[in-house]
C-alpha cells in the first residue's frame, strides 16, 4: 500500500538507539519518505548509521494495524476504548489496583510515557507500570541512583571528543551505537593519540580499530574494575581534593583489594597495559552498555565503574566520566518520566512520602501507590500466576524479548485481558492480544525523546496518520477519561502534556533533584513545535552542561557514594549437560525484535538468519561444520540457529543475537533460552549469562526459498528475511515431505501457478519454481545438506522472467555480488573482494572512492578493513 501524498521537510529524531541522531525528513511527490542526517544536530552532525539510513524502507503500510481490533474483529475507537476502560475498571474494582499492569517501552515518546505513568500511578493507584528499559538500562538506573542519588548521566557526547582514553565495556559501540563509534574514530583520526580500549569477552567489530582489547571472562567486570580501583590506590591516584565530595571510599577500597582479579582470566600484561592507560591518563571516559547492565550483578558492575571515576575525581569534567549509552530512542525519557515501576516522575522516588505527596497534589490524584510496582520479570510472573488480570502492552514485544520468553508468551496468552498498542499486528505479542489499538509510528507521531547525553529532541510527524491510527498519549488519555478521570486527562496536544511535565519537574527541582526542565513549562505551542535539541536541566538555575565536577550529588548528604562491591559470577553455572556460556546481543543492521528493521531489504541483507558464533575449536569438538544448523538447549528452552564459526567468540562461550522472533524465525527466539534470573537491586535480567548445550542439529533436509509474498512455514527451522524482490527464507526439517512439488505449492500457497522442477531423488535434491505469466513468483531449493546456491543473486529474481532460476546461480557471465556488506550503498562482499584483488584497492578509503562502500554511516568500515587485511595476508602467503 502506498502512502497518500504530502509534501514537507522537517527535522526529527531517529527512532532507534539512544544516540538520538537528528534526521531531516522530506516526502517526495510520490509520497516516498526521504531521510538524511541532520547536520545541525549535536548528537550526530549529519551522520547516520545503516539503520538510520534505511529508515525510509521501514515506513511502508504493509502489515500495519490500521483500525482497532477486538477479538480479531475490526471495530471503531469508541468500542475498543470503552472495552479497555471498563475492563480495567471492573478488574480494579474486583481485584484491586495491583491486578492490572502496563508494560511499556522506550519507543514511547516522553509525552506518551508521562500520560501512561500518570494514569497508572496517580489514578489507577498501582505502580505496576514497567518498561522494556528494565531489560537494558535498569542496572544503570540503580547504579546511578546508588552512586549519585539520582539517575544522572554526568557527562555529554562532547566528552568523547575531549577524552584521551575511551574505554568501552560491555558495549559493541561499532554495531550498536555506530554514530558514536564513528565520532570516536573521527576524533582519533584528528588526534591519533586518543586511545580506545574495548573490554568484551568477544572480539567484536568495536575491537578492530582499538588499541587494546581485554577479552575478560564473561561477567567478571566487577573484578576488573575492583582491580583497577586497587591499582588506583596503589599508585596514589586517589583524588584527595575530590574525596571530600565522596563517601564510602574506604569500604570500597577494602572490597576492591579483596577481590579476585584472576576471575577476569586476563593476562598480567594486558591488565598492566590497561591499568597504565587508565591510571596514566586523566581524561578517561568509560562507556558502558548492555554487557554491564544485563547481569545478575549489573548494578554492582555500574558501581565498580563509578567507583573508579569517583575515586579519581574524573567525573563531570571535560573528557572524563562514566558514560552509559542507552539502547532505545527514549530509554532516557522513560527513566526521567518515571516509566519504571520503582520510580515516580522527574527522578522523584515513589517510596519517598514527600515526593509522593507532592506529585499526588500536583496531579490531584485520588490515590498513589506507596510501594514499587512489579518489575518486568516479576510482572510477567504475576501475569502467569493469574495475579495480573488486565495487561496493556505498548510498543514492545515481551513474548520475544523477555527472558524465559516461551513462558512469558504463555503467560500473556493465558491472561484474561490483554491490550496491545502497536503499529503492526505482526509481532509475537500482538498476536496474543484481545484488543489491538493502532498507534501512530515514527514519522507520524509528535513529541520528545531524550538520548544518552540528556539531549531532548523532537520527533515530528512528516507523514499523515494512516487509517485510524492514533498517538499513544491520546489512547491513554481516552482510557483515563473513560475510566472517570476526565479532568486529569483533558489533553488536546502533546505540547500541553509537555508543559505539565515540565512544571512537575520544577517540583522535583524544588526537592533538589537533577531532572528539572521547569524552564520549559511555559513553552508556547509554537515554541514547542520549534523546540531545538535541548540538554536538561533547563531551569532558572541551571542549563545543560555536566554534573558533579564539584560534587553536588543528589544523595541525602550530597556526597557521591562509592560502593563496596565484590565480583560474583553469573548465577547459572556451567555443568556437564550445559557446558557452554550463552552470550546474547545485537547485530549491526537489526534493532530489537525487528518489527521495524526487518521491513528493510537493505538491513535484512547483512545477516539474513539467526546464528550462533562459536569458536572453531568448540565447533570442531562438537562436530559443527561451517554451514551446520546448531541446536542450543538450556534448562529453559531450545533454539536452532546457523553456525558461524569464528574465533571472535572465546572458547567455551557462544554468542547469539537477540533479534529473531516467531514472525521471522521461531526457532531463533533466543530469549526463550535465557533464565529469568535478575539483578537483586535493579531487577534487570541476566540476559548474557545462561548456560547452554551446543550440538549439531542434523536436519534431514535443508532448504532455501525465495518468494514475492511472505510465507509462514511450519518446519523445524525457518528464517525469513525481506528483500527488494520479496523475501528469502532458510529452511530445514526433520521430516522429508513425500512430494516436494505439492509441498512447495502448499508452502507458497500457489495451487495453480506454472511449475518448474528439478528432481534428483537419489541425492535428495529438489528444486521447484513457480511462475505466473512467465514471471517468477517463488522458488524452493532443497538438499540433504545445507543448500549451496547463490542466495543474493536468487533473492533479486522474483518478479522477473528467469527460466533458469532453478540452476540456483547466475549464468557464467553475470557476477554474483555476494552478501551485502555496505547496507547504505548495497555493496556486496564479492564486489569489494573483486575491487581489492583486481584493482588493488588496499585501503578503506580507496574502496569507498571506487564503490561508495563505507562512505555513509561507516559501520561496515571495520569489515571492509578486515577484508583488505585478509587479502594482504593472502598475498603475503603467496
Amino acid at each position: 500500500m502506498k502512502r497518500p501524498q504530502s509534501a514537507c521537510s522537517l527535522r526529527s529524531t531517529c527512532p532507534y538507539c539512544g544516540v538520538g541522531c537528528g534526521v531531516l525528513l522530506a516526502v517526495d511527490d510520490q509520497g516516498a519518505l526521504e531521510v538524511r542526517g541532520d547536520p545541525d544536530h549535536p548528537a550526530n552532525f549529519g551522520r547516520l548509521c545503516s539503520k538510520g539510513s534505511a529508515l525510509s524502507e521501514t515506513v511502508s503500510l504493509d502489515d500495519r494495524l490500521l483500525t482497532p481490533r477486538v477479538h480479531g474483529q475490526d471495530t471503531d475507537w469508541d468500542s475498543a476504548l470503552d472495552l479497555v476502560a471498563t475492563t480495567f475498571k471492573d478488574t480494579i474494582a474486583k481485584h484491586g489496583p495491583d491486578s492490572v499492569a502496563f508494560y511499556v517501552s522506550g519507543q514511547l515518546l516522553t509525552e506518551d510515557y508521562y500520560v501512561a505513568n500518570k494514569l497508572m500511578k496517580g489514578f489507577i493507584g498501582s505502580a505496576n507500570i514497567d518498561t522494556n528499559s528494565r531489560l537494558c538500562m535498569a542496572s544503570t538506573v540503580a547504579g546511578h541512583k546508588r552512586a549519585f542519588g539520582t539517575d544522572t548521566v554526568p557527562g555529554t557526547y562532547e566528552d568523547l571528543d575531549e577524552a584521551d582514553v575511551i574505554v568501552l565495556t560491555g558495549s559493541n559501540l561499532a554495531w550498536c551505537h555506530p554514530v558514536l563509534y564513528q565520532r570516536i574514530l573521527a576524533t582519533r583520526k584528528a588526534r591519533p593519540d586518543q586511545k580506545l580500549v574495548v573490554i568484551d569477552p568477544r572480539r567484536t567489530a568495536s575491537c578492530d580499530l582499538a588499541d587494546l582489547h581485554l577479552p575478560l571472562a564473561l561477567g567478571s567486570d566487577v573484578a576488573l574494575f575492583n582491580g583497577l580501583l586497587a591499582e588506583i590506590e596503589k599508585r596514589g591516584l586517589i583524588d584527595a581534593e575530590f574525596a571530600k565530595y565522596v563517601s564510602g571510599l574506604d569500604a570500597a577500597l577494602v572490597s576492591a583489594r579483596a577481590d579476585d582479579l584472576a576471575a577476569t582470566g586476563l593476562s598480567d600484561d594486558v591488565l598492566a597495559e590497561f591499568f597504565d592507560l587508565w591510571c596514566g591518563t586523566k581524561k578517561v571516559v568509560t562507556i558502558f552498555s548492555q554487557g554491564v547492565n544485563q547481569s545478575s550483578s549489573g548494578t554492582d558492575k555500574v558501581n565498580a565503574i563509578t567507583n573508579c571515576h569517583l575515586a579519581t575525581g574524573r567525573i563531570g569534567k571535560p573528557g572524563m566520566g562514566p558514560f552509559s549509552v542507552t539502547g532505545q530512542p527514549n530509554a532516557m525519557g522513560g527513566r526521567e518520566v518515571g516509566g519504571l515501576a520503582n520510580m515516580l516522575a522527574c527522578h522523584l522516588d515513589l517510596e519517598n512520602a514527600d515526593h509522593r505527596n507532592a506529585v499526588k497534589d500536583f496531579w490531584s490524584a485520588p490515590v498513589m501507590p506507596e510501594v514499587a510496582g512489579l518489575k518486568a520479570v516479576e510482572m510477567f510472573k504475576a501475569v502467569g500466576e493469574g495475579k495480573i488480570k488486565a495487561l496493556w502492552i505498548i510498543h514492545t514485544n515481551p513474548a520475544v524479548s523477555m527472558p524465559d520468553a516461551d513462558k512469558v508468551r504463555d503467560a500473556i496468552a493465558g491472561c484474561d485481558f490483554v491490550v496491545v498498542s502497536d503499529i503492526t499486528v505482526a509481532t509475537d505479542t500482538a498476536r496474543l492480544a484481545h484488543v489491538l489499538l493502532p498507534a501512530t509510528g515514527w514519522g507520524e507521531k509528535d513529541g520528545t525523546v531524550t538520548n544518552s547525553d540528556r539531549m531532548m529532541s523532537r520527533q515530528r510527524a512528516v507523514l499523515p496518520a494512516p487509517g485510524l491510527a492514533r498517538p499513544d498519549w491520546h489512547q491513554l488519555a481516552e482510557v483515563g477519561r473513560r475510566m472517570g478521570f476526565n479532568a486529569a486527562f483533558e489533553y488536546e496536544t502533546p505540547a500541553e502534556i509537555f508543559r505539565e511535565y515540565a512544571a512537575l519537574s520544577g517540583i522535583a527541582g524544588g526537592f533538589g533533584r537533577d531532572f528539572d526542565i521547569s524552564g520549559l513549562a511555559d513553552l508556547s505551542n509554537t515554541a514547542y513545535a520549534d523546540l531545538a535539541p535541548t540538554r536538561w536541566p533547563v531551569s532558572s538555575g541551571k542549563k545543560g552542561g555536566r554534573f558533579f565536577a564539584d560534587g553536588g550529588f543528589f544523595t541525602p548528604d550530597g556526597k557521591g557514594r562509592m560502593l563496596p562491591v565484590a565480583w560474583k559470577p553469573p548465577v547459572a553455572k556451567t555443568e556437564k549437560r550445559y557446558p557452554f556460556r550463552l552470550n546474547t546481543g545485537r547485530i549491526r543492521d537489526q534493532w530489537h525484535t525487528m518489527t521495524r528493521t526487518a521491513r528493510s531489504p537493505r538491513l535484512s541483507a547483512h545477516l539474513a538468519e539467526p546464528f550462533v558464533e562459536i569458536h572453531p575449536e568448540d565447533a570442531s569438538a562438537q562436530g559443527i561444520g561451517p554451514t551446520a544448523l546448531v541446536l542450543l538447549k538450556t534448562p529453559n528452552g531450545r533454539a536452532i540457529v546457523r553456525a558461524m564459526i569464528t574465533d571472535r567468540t572465546p572458547k567455551g562461550e557462544v554468542f547469539v543475537p537477540m533479534h529473531w522472533t516467531g514472525e521471522n524465525a521461531p526457532s531463533g527466539r533466543i530469549d526463550a533460552l535465557v533464565p529469568s534470573v535478575t539483578d537483586p537491586i535493579s531487577g534487570q535480567p541476566e540476559s548474557k549469562g545462561a548456560v547452554v548445550s551446543v550440538t549439531p542439529f542434523a536436519a534431514k533436509w535443508y532448504g532455501f526459498a525465495i518468494s514475492q509474498m511472505p510465507i509462514k512455514p511450519k518446519y523445524d527451522y525457518w528464517a525469513l528475511a525481506k528483500t527488494y524482490a520479496g523475501y528469502r527464507v532458510e529452511l530445514a526439517g526433520m521430516t522429508v515431505p513425500e512430494d516436494w512439488i505439492e509441498e512447495a505449492r502448499t508452502l507458497f500457497g500457489l495451487p495453480d501457478a506454472d511449475v518448474q522442477t528439478m528432481l534428483d531423488p537419489a541425492k535428495g535434491t529438489a528444486r521447484v519454481a513457480f511462475h505466473v505469466n512467465g514471471a517468477l513468483v517463488a522458488a524452493l531449493f532443497v538438499s540433504r545438506t545445507p543448500v549451496a546456491v547463490m542466495r543474493d543473486y536468487l533473492a533479486a529474481l522474483p518478479g522477473q522472467e528467469v527460466p533458469g532460476v532453478l540452476a540456483g546461480k547466475s549464468p557464467a557471465n553475470q557476477p554474483d555480488p555476494g552478501p551485502v556488506l555496505c547496507s547504505c550503498f548495497n555493496v556486496g562482499i564479492n564486489t569489494i573482494l573483486a575491487a581489492i584483488e583486481t584493482r588493488g584497492l588496499m585501503s578503506v578509503e580507496a574502496i569507498g572512492a571506487a564503490l561508495d562502500a563505507g562512505t555513509n554511516c561507516g559501520s561496515c568500515r571495520p569489515e571492509i578493513s578486515a577484508l583488505i587485511a585478509k587479502a594482504q595476508t593472502k598475498e603475503a602467503a603467496e
Binding site: 553456525a643 522442477t757 585478509k870
Partner: protein, 422 residues
Amino acid sequence: MPQRLVIVGAGMASGRLLEHLLAQAPEAFDITLFNAEPRGTYNRLMLSPVLAGEISYDEIVTHDDAWYAHHNVTCRFGEWVIAIDREGKRVIGTKGAVPYDRLVIATGSAPYIPPLPGHDLPGVIAYRDVEDTDRMIGLGAGSKAVVIGGGLLGLEAAAGMAARGVEVTVVQRAGHLMNRQLDAPAADLLQQALEARGITVVCNAQSQEILADAAGQARALRLADGSELPCDLVLMAVGIVPSVGLAREAGLRVGQGVCVDDQLLTSDPSIYALGECVEHRGAVFGLVAPLFDQAKVLAQTLRDLPGCFVNKDVSTKLKVTGCDLFSAGDFSEAERRESIVFSDLRAGVYKRLVIENNRLIGAVIYGDTQDGGWFFNLIRDGVDVSALRDTLIFGPAYQDAPKPEPAAPAPVDVPVFMEVLA
C-alpha cells in the same frame, strides 16, 4: 603411379572419406565412384527440411559435379554395380568393369519393409532418398498419409507432409513415440507438439494389412483392433537393413552387415567397407556420427597410416522445426542408476539425465536441446560429474559462474552458508 581406388556408393560416409583423402593425399589415388542414385553425395539427413519445404534440394548437395570434376573423381552415377571380381580385382558395373587396387564398399542400407499384406502395393513407399521425398511432396494438400513407425525418420516424414497440408496419422507399435530415444514424459511432450500441428498419433498400434482400392492402389491401413486408417500414401519407416548383397555374392564375410575390423578392412585384404552397410564388432549403424568416424579411420587405413575405429555412443536430434529433442546414451531404468529430471511443462521443456557411478550415461532432452552436445561429451568422455551434480542439468552456462572464495565470509563473520559452496 597412383593407386586405383574404387568406391561403391556415394552416400554421406563416402563423401566424407573422399574429403579426407583429397585433402590429405590429393595425388595418391585414382578414384572411381559408383552410385546407384543418379547423383553424387547430398546430406540425406536434410531431406526432412526439404520435405517440409524449408530448404530446397540444391541446398543439401554436399558434393556437386563441379567438385568431382575439380578433384578428378570419375563418377559412375545412376549405374548399378553387378558384381565384384575379387580374383581379377575388378568392379563390374552395368556399363562395364573398373579395375581396382583397393575397393571400398559403401552401399549403405535399405529401408526395412515389414512383410505386411499389401506392403508391395503402389502407394506404399519408404523414406530413403530424393525420389521418396518427391513422392511425398507430390501429395497435395488435403490428401491423407499414414506413417508406419514413430521413430526419427517416420516423424520427420510425418511433420514434413503435415507442413504441406497432408493429413498424417503416425502408427507406432510401442507405447510412446521414439521409444529408442525418448522416455515416456519426453515422448508425451513430443506427441503434444506433433498433435498441435495436426498430426494424429496412434501408439500401441499393431499394423495388420494395407488395403487396396479397386485400382489396386493402397487406400487404407487396417490395425489389429480392426480400425482402418484411410490414406492416399503409406510410408514405411520402421527401420533399415544394411545393403550387403554385393558383398555377400562376392564371398566376403557378412553378418547383419559387411564384417569389418577396426581398420574397416573386410575379409578380403583389398576390400574395405564403410557406412551403414558394415557390421563392426557386432554393431550396425544408422546414425551419421559414427559413419564420419569410420570415414576418418578409413582414410588413414587407405594411406597405410594407423587408425582405429571405436564405436562410441551417439546422440540423436529430431529435425522437425519446433520439436527440439536430444537423446544420447543409455537412459533405461536399472539398479544403481539415478535420474535427475528437469521439467517445465508450460515451456515444453523436459530433461532427464541418467547417472551411474557418478558418471553421466544417458540423456533425454525435449524442448531445450542447446546443451545436448555438452551432455553428449560428458557421456562420451566418462567425466565424473559428482561435483557438478546440482547444476549439471542446467548445462555448461552454469558451470563456470564466478565462485566466491569459500573463506571470504570469515573475516567479516558472514556465515559461509550464504554462499555457493561447490
